[in-house]
Assembly symmetry: C2
Amino acid sequence: MKEYCKFESALDILVGKWKPAILLQLISNGIMRFGELQKAIPDINKKMLTQQLRELEHNNIVHREVYNQIPPKVEYSISEYGKGLSTVLKALNDWGTAHMKHMDALYGVDRSESEPKG
Amino acid sequence: MKEYCKFESALDILVGKWKPAILLQLISNGIMRFGELQKAIPDINKKMLTQQLRELEHNNIVHREVYNQIPPKVEYSISEYGKGLSTVLKALNDWGTAHMKHMDALYGVDRSESEPKG
DNA sequence: CAGAATCCCTATTGATACTG
DNA sequence: CAGTATCAATAGGGATTCTG
């Protein structure tokens, strides 16, 4: 067995363009409906939101609660098991925060591009 | 600024099909030459190895030492800055290890496929 | 409302050959 | 030895349309 598959096993959970955003939302807000997630992450579309949620669900990170009613209502939340990711996410977040400052200091950040003044 | 860009900033470093494998090698073995890395990660090709190393180098995670001689000799190692990743990598590794067991228990692992008895 | 299905496009990965 | 250059294959992401 490849040693690094442990890394990859963990990374696979987090990788996917929208998974960090989704996880952050669910961690911050607890239970959220599909539509709420979509509103909270404006640039995502339904297909991607569905897809990434399904992957997280398959990995037991998020719990999906379906209310069988019209109109439909589906709630998502971090599963108990998923909460075990908190250490990883915190490590990632801490390091990421420091790293952004580091890169900023090294190269400068082109905020002009990445943040249209709006 | 999007909150999750901190996650992403960190994830970007680790994401890339071969980066976990490369990092693991360098962490385990210290200084390694290009060819050694290639031997240690048999399925990678030169292009990918070069590319991923360059990205890691650009992010200050690995150090590249070039000896100007014939035949060429280039050594790679984790940079001082890159060593700061250890917390993240450990968290990832620990969680990944547990997660593999978890998924194994849930779904069973098709070892028959993933590990040809060789 | 919460998706499923379809089609398209681009970024990432890979195979191969060439070079100082 | 340690790459670069080029081209081909693929997977991931996205726009749009349709549905119970």
